[in-house]
Symmetry: D4
Subunit: 146 residues, 8 copies
């Protein structure tokens, strides 16, 4: 049985690559989908496709619409969601995506460092599983196949 | 027609009081519900009710379960949700609550300052309305009664 | 048993007043809710509340967000929807509201003149009942109480 | 990952052919489904299958039932919906289909010319993305695969 | 706690009156709602409201649309459904209404005589409770208040 | 695109064979699923699997449970439902299955002879399409592929 | 705001009385609903209403249908569910009711003694809150009103 | 048509192996999925993946989260659920899983010995089919393919 998992989280560093490589090493039959990871493409996609916008707010709104189209479609097609939080950035759309996944009944894994226990406590309590690093998330996915 | 509106957001300052007073001045027939606003009570409610816990993570998890019980019940009983973001704090459960409200089909108002446009762009794009301050949110609620 | 009925349709003429008066004459225990009927208020509400916008498209988008907030909230609270089409105007949001009501499982009455049979045929076929004028719609509502 | 996209909109001109050709050029792994595009077949299918009807209204209603069967089935099987509006025709079933797609939680792209901003403002605000032409819609679909 | 119960079933005899009287005798806090019980009104309501129709099939279809509007609205507002089958008539809309109620998750009581066990066996198996007469149905409703 | 269609209806004659052969002739890419067509097997399956039962009612109930298991599972996996009514038999589970399909949002074709217009009028009005014979139902399915 | 809470659990002792009294002392605006607490009435209600049954299994099945009717109706009308487990009895319908409540999205409080941690660990993890005694459950309900 | 069936129940003995072998003998096109069957792995998986926990309750909770992740994901992907109860163990998560499956609308087979009729009567009444042993469950699955 092949699974598809959506990887919610910031797109400033390469955490998804690490996760995918580790999943591959374990031969997990999991396809990963995710938001656009090229940060400037993600920020500019509104203007890239729709042309120049009158101000930054509208530029952001147009980009978001297209990013949300991608996320909505891919999350709907996924069997589970992994939401990853790091030390930096506001990561509010990660938290929103996790809320959407939880309400949609998708099994959800939260990855967050020990240092983030307190600010993520309500989200952690609603996620299906909370782990502290990528290796543990891979092991949870692997457990489905044991 | 009386409405009930859930006020999601951090509980470090008195933004809900300001909002409620302004709604009262306008004679809006809106009942507001919200999370526990006494911050230390909210943080300690797990141990307050269930006794001492083995460590901080578990203490936080127990408190969150009880906070989530309250939020889940009150949000389900609400006709709309207002999510307020300020400059400070991580506010991840505000973003999660907004995601839950959006996925549940609740009409949602996002209040966020101009300075937060970029990090909240995906959430703003999915919220039903985005405004920049409490007065504007009150005017949106008032518009339902015009 | 009191019912609440949402009146979808254009806001250029006073069809809702006519409908409400006729309902009152029949002593129907029905509360009617509807979009903002002051046309310029409806068009300008985005700028009225959020301030001047950079161009007409954004002005329209801001107004729509607030109009959609009102519609979403009131339709959710309604037991049935009446969608009224006239000879003039594009009335695309009436058709969209009817689609939303149909998909949400709300009993829906379509009012449309004989002259509009062809362009509204798919919508008519999905509505619960199609009538040709306001009097007939009132009689359908009244029938629920017979 | 192959996607299936429903193309809602009028069937008087060949906009779907243009869209499909452009998608093929980009090698998008997207299957497009849509209403019957042969206009007279679409109008007459009720009588074609069920025999002569007593009047035009009934002829239209029978055709619509069969068109709605097709649309309902194909939209349910689709991952996303594109709704295209042009300058001509009433296009009320396009708006209804868009409303159904939005309420069903399908990611929805609205294609409409700048000249239609005002009459489509509420629909545009509820669609996931709004673009002005077919090329932009293709780019949005392509973005899902980047 | 007041309950509302929808009484599905044929409208040729006065079984609902008997049921209501027996409920009143027991002082049950139950409001009963139901289809139009005046049979000729129910059959003619399409022409009564919409005028003469081209043939019997269309006359029937118009009446059904209005009857279905009433049933859809009242069933949605009900906490439970009672479906009553007798020896006579085809009673297919009773069976359809029961199917709709079951799929909608409404608690459903089937009343059917012993003689109808075999033809109603699949429906009986899906209903929440099956009883053989009106007195027993009343006792089931009364049990909720014990 | 392959479709799966559930064929609800009585199992006393070979109408499904006729339908399947006609679909095959048209090369329709449709897989048909349906209840057990061996009538005595369908009636006796409860005792066949679970052993002798204390009376006819219980024997019927046990058989129904297993028939309902089959129907529930196959209908859930189907893209559309065809409900066929003939002159004979009570056919109440056909009507119940149609009600379940309608409430579950499955596109539904009703096949019924002209003679059954009146007793099936409410069901016909809620079905997506009504036709009078198997050939017409095949043409409706074929229309999806045109 | 008045709440209604369903009290799932065994009916061999008076834990609900204790809970209700403690809620009353705290002046909680909560209405409690629950299964039939008279144990022999609950076991015999099938035969009480429907007459003697052919064997114990059928007697049990008839009683269960009526008990499930009551539970289904009252749980649907409740804002939250409390599931109480004690040391004795199999309590499988308590666990089933908790599963139903969780899947239906009802906020759920699990009350179980420390001694039952291990066998209830999966249920505890899915409940919204787990507490060890009635006083703590009351405090959780009270917290909603703070 | 291939089916996927989730096997809920205790993991202390090899009932699933027996069931799978018997399904294979019958050449059923059914894939079975289930919880982790290695009992100590299931109990320890929280600590195996997340490291030592402060006490037994937390150890159990962490293991449950991961077990629930697996169950939630696999049950969602299944067409039907079999819930097996034996004489030993509390089996509360089996009952909870059955409740979740019932509320989610999954066709559900309950396997329980005659000796368990009384304590499982409410669950049996809500399951789609109840059988007394594995052979009968296989025959029910086989019946879908007849």
């Amino acid at each position: 049985m092949e699974l598809r998992v959506y990887l919610a989280g910031q797109i400033h560093d390469a955490w998804r690559d690490e996760l995918k490589q580790k999943a591959e090493k374990k031969d997990l039959k999991v396809k990963f989908v995710h938001p656009q990871e090229n940060h400037s493409r993600s920020d500019n996609v509104g203007e890239d496709i729709l042309g120049e916008q009158p101000n930054k707010e509208i530029k952001d709104d147009k980009a978001s619409a297209i990013n949300n189209f991608r996320t909505k479609l891919l999350m709907e097609r996924s069997d589970a969601v992994i939401a990853y939080f790091g030390e930096n950035y506001k990561q509010w759309n990660t938290a929103m995506d996790a809320g959407i996944a939880i309400q949609a009944g998708k099994p959800t894994i939260l990855i967050r460092d020990e240092s983030l226990i307190h600010p993520l406590k309500e989200l952690s309590n609603q996620a299906t599983v909370t782990v502290e690093n990528i290796d543990q998330a891979i092991e949870v996915l692997n457990y489905v196949y044991e």
